[in-house]
Amino acid sequence: MSEEQIKHVIFKILRRIAPESDPSRLAPDENIRRALDIDSFDALNFFIHLHEELGVNIPESDYGQLNTLSEMLDYLSVHIG
């Protein structure tokens, strides 16, 4: 799966969680939770959707490595089977 495709999926999920936002405007190093006002319930939903879409099972202990778009892309490109 290409980085573009992964990004597309991430944006789709973020738009579902934060409908009023435009994730494509996120800078690669911007803290997503802060930028889109994501709380812990939103975050849980994000990881549920990510699991549904991409099949990745991200353990809670890894949440800290997924703060920005570029971190997510790095993490996911490694973990998608």
Binding site: S40, F47, H51
Partner: protein, 424 residues
Amino acid sequence: MPGLGADMVTGALVEWKVKPGDRVKRGDIIAVVDTDKAAIEIEVFEDGIVEDLRVQPGQTVPVGTVMAIIRTEAVPFAAEIAAAKEEKVLVEGTRKIMEIEAPPLAEVVIPSRQPLAGRAGRIKASPYARRLAAEHSIDLGALRGTGPQGEIYASDVESAVSAAGQESSKEAGGAPTEEPVPLVTKEKLPPTSPIAGKPAATDYQAAIRRAIAAAMARSNREIPHYYLQTRIDMSRTLHWLESENLKRSIKERILLAVPLIKAVALALGEVPELNGYWIDDRHQVQESINIGFAISLRQGGLITPAILGPDLMSVDELMEALKDLITRTRAGRLRSSEMTEATITVTSLGDFGVETVYGVIYPPQVALVGFGKVMEQPWAENGLLGARPVVTATLAGDHRATDGRRGAQFLDALNRRLQEPSKL
């Protein structure tokens, strides 16, 4: 039209979920009503058969208006007794949603010379009208004054109070005379049925702010708050949560809010004085624990619907309930009981990096529990200094109902519960 908030004066019917002839049982959702603040699902209080729907979708009626007639089992259909001489039989045997019919809005309100929209800015109300409104938690902004310039007089507030009074008098015996109402401060969702015109977002925002203003101003005016706070070592709870979540699929993972809510509920079991209301100069401790949980909304504002009986749920059940509640809150689909039955409020602002929460109690409740962010902090224990994840828990208590000692016992109980997460 039930009163879904002390500040609610009118409500608009969005849709009926039942039709005449339908059989309903207690707890069924029979209608969706749009208040100033949110679309609310209305539950029915009786088993019976829907006989007549008296309000049409899109219609706005004052609180207290009869919306439907529900026939209880013992009573024959209206058609069957049409021949019967006395209409009284119907009235007496039929459970009305409201006991007293309020006159239509148009009869209550004498149109003011000045259109409502032109009354921008300050609300002109007499001091006595203001006092009455404060005593009865009536939102002056929602009233239309009958004075020559649209001024609000005591009589205008009294009309609104009597309409609301008709509502509260119908509540089952033993229930508090003043309904506890969760803090409803979210942006109102646009009506889903063809209610004429779509009010501008600013109208919703103004209504929300007025709702917050009425409830919070009343709280700070009437409730002598005391505040206690304690730092709680969260290492055991977090460790337990982590290991529990490792056992679960992503979908079943538990949020930290769950052990926090559960611990509050169990601590309330030990210190029940904080679970209840202050009404009519009397402390009214409630037996069932219903925790109003502050849920923030993306559009701005927050809402505190009740989780009913979390003390009796397992953590998984509680997570399910919380997920369901948050989802429905954000979709604007709450049930009337969730809007009115909270006995205490819990607010967690940890997601936003806040360390300590000093809450404003939601009247007539007598306590609010606040949680901040879990932060790694230096922690001395048994003469050794280490780093622990620590949360600051605060209690805002109504000093009329309880004293600091009771509050301290509660925070102590809360701490103990969070040190034994496996028993949650």
